[in-house]
Symmetry: C2
């Protein structure tokens, strides 16, 4: 990298403005680029990542050495680490994005008015997308490729601890753009470790159409609080599984265990298990024991504690906590209405599930729970763009505006109305 | 009205919080309300407006007297004035909204994954919509009815000069809600003339999901600058008609004149006419003369001035001005690419038109112009939800996120994913 790693205030402001302007200029070419050109760039990027794997690993080794010296946690170090396998994963991920259909130009609704005007809603890119992420350098590749496929100019701002790794990956993305004849400014990277750069991005609505933060709660809260640019993000994934009185016990056990324990660190992992009081005797004991035996800490109400001595008392705050860990809150509720009231009070509008064989209870729950994803008889861990058949995603949104749920290439687009007439004037 | 017209700071803050909380509570009932119940409320509202016409006119007479005493302009007074005809227009408008299909609950995409999960995208209301408007009291009826039809709770904040008129109309809306058994808080009105109330709305993202400002540029700029709540709005409608070298002169004349002169005060009125240099001799003179003869002031470049002595010189700022008046800027450009460059520099991403018989030129223009609405051989004055077949609209959006173009009941919704399984767990 020939760029300065830190800049003074004035130089930073100038750099950020220049990045924003270059992104706007690149946006026009990118929005009109045919699928074949974008895919050629993506495949060249994947090839460059494979070809330059040793450079990427070397840059990562320097980042890792600094991070160890700075005393970063083992979890942070693991997120920062790149391996040959992870590099191959990045390249393969980009190739998979190349295979997705191009959302841009799709005419997804059209009709003819009585006066003969033919009106079509046509997908267009959003424009310029800024992605702010933390330690994982591979987000550089994912986010850059998703923005490129959807015809958006990208401004990437990775964590300062992954500065060199992200730089090496970004160089591969730029090389791929050049091979396809696309402007290099189509995917830019903020070329400084300065945290103040992020503050500038929040104040650039004239250059940035949307910010996608990918990181911990602190980052997302800051973006939502400070940004003048619209944000697509989810703050919490406090997901519920409700086992209804009409649930099959076998289905309930499989879903409850999978929703909590398959992977505890993802946003679709369940954090609360609610059981209908009507089946407290038959369903609650096996559900609680399954979790305990899988190594999960169970924080329960009186009924759950009565099942097993290992269940600890649930505190009021537990119902609102996204543990992202082997911990779950468990309690009884009075049927579907009790579950709805609980989720309405404590949920985070992300992903919630009902297990039941009763169609009326299912429809009541699916209709009334105000979450991005509501599931019947399926694990909350399916909250994922790939599992939804959308290909790669840049995140899950709990926004109500624009994109809700998994954000894939289609959700990174806007639309315009194309109206074709033959001389119509308005009376 | 039994409410205080002005409140001290503390009372205002309390009032606004109470309104926000009541709206959130009403939202749940409203989101689940079946179409028949919402339509019953709408028809009762229309009936109440007709039945109470004399009360509404009396309230309006008081507002008008105050407005005259305060020296409001004739244009402002006209916007404020209600007549028997305008009251019937409000009632009829609400009935037309009742007839629109209910967007809520529509499954607008669905598919089945290989593992058997059935995934559907289902429209849901946005939640709580705040509408901030200026002098026209009839917006109370339009906005309230559009929000109700789309299942959203509404918080209406009209201009202080229309306070009594809006109050009388709002009482009819509330009566209609009560008749249908819907919560009265489904459509609330800020019960004070205090301008500070608007500032509170900007800072209530926990209670308001979106703000729709309807008014002049000053209002919209303020909302866009200050609001922490997302905004759907358009700032400028600097619309262009480009007459290409391959345009039919007859078509060009009809569209150019209609786009400018049919109504000059609406956002879809054209403000700039661009003519391909290739047809300067044949097309420019009749186009310019048509406008002059219709009473339009023409501000032209050298070529346009050469047509007629009445053409005045165009200044640099004219190309960026939304006149909303009988004034137009006219100039030559070098073909489609020249038109694109001009619109890219000066346009406001609202509505732009090409007149041409050349398919390639048309597709280049329609693809490359980055506006909410692009038209081929049709007047820019068609930029309207009704003309698009969407029924009533709450405005035209130049946002790139969520809704772009006319904002009707469908655009006032979000969606959620409803996933139906039979016990699937994620491997």
């Amino acid at each position: 990298m020939s760029v300065a790693e830190t800049l003074n205030d004035e130089a930073l402001a100038e750099t950020m403005t220049a990045i924003g302007q270059a992104a706007r200029r690149a946006m026009a070419d990118l929005g009109q680029a045919p699928r074949a050109v974008k895919d050629r760039a993506l495949l060249a990027q994947a090839a460059a990542i494979r070809a330059r794997a040793s450079e990427i690993l070397e840059a990562n080794a320097q980042d890792m050495a600094d991070a160890r010296a700075a005393g970063l946690s083992a979890a942070m170090l693991d997120r920062l680490l790149l391996t040959a396998g992870r590099i191959e994963g990045m390249a393969g991920g980009i190739e998979a994005i190349a295979e997705l259909p191009d959302p841009v130009g799709e005419e997804f609704a059209s009709w003819t008015q009585p006066n003969g005007l033919r009106i079509a809603r046509v997908r267009v890119p959003l424009g310029v997308i800024a992605v702010i992420y933390e330690s994982r350098p591979n987000v550089t590749a994912d986010a850059g490729a998703l923005c490129l496929k959807s015809g958006n100019a990208a401004i990437l701002r990775g964590g300062s601890e992954s500065f060199r790794s992200s730089g090496a990956i970004h160089a591969c993305l730029t090389a791929g753009l050049a091979e396809a004849g696309l402007p290099e400014a189509a995917i830019q990277r903020v070329p400084t470790r300065d945290r103040a750069a992020v503050g500038h991005m929040f104040q650039m609505p004239e250059h940035i159409d949307i910010i996608v933060p990918r990181g911990g709660k602190g980052l997302i809260e800051r973006v939502q609080r400070e940004s003048r640019v619209p944000v697509i993000a989810h703050l919490d994934g406090n997901c519920h599984v409700y086992v209804d009185g009409a649930a099959s016990l076998e289905t309930a056990r499989a879903i409850s265990l999978n929703a909590k324990m398959r992977r505890t660190g993802i946003c679709g992992a369940s954090e609360t298990l609610l059981v209908d009081r009507a089946v407290a005797d038959s369903h609650l004991p096996p559900l609680v024991r399954d979790l305990l035996e899988a190594g999960c800490e169970v924080r329960g109400d009186a009924a759950a504690r009565a099942v097993d001595d290992r269940v600890v008392p649930v505190e009021a705050g537990d119902w609102d906590t996204e543990y992202l860990d082997k911990i779950i809150a468990v309690g009884l509720v009075d049927g579907v209405e009790g579950a709805l009231a609980h989720i309405d009070s404590h949920g985070s509008h992300h992903t919630d599930c009902i297990v039941t064989e009763d169609g009326a209870a299912a429809e009541r729950f699916l209709g009334a729970v105000d979450s991005a994803i509501v599931l019947l008889n399926a694990s909350t861990q399916f909250a994922d763009g790939g599992e939804f058949g959308m290909g790669a995603e840049i995140g899950i949104s709990t926004n109500r505006l624009h994109a809700r749920g998994p954000v894939g290439v289609e959700q990174l687009t806007s639309y315009k109305y194309v109206v074709r007439g033959d001389g119509q004037t308005r009376p």
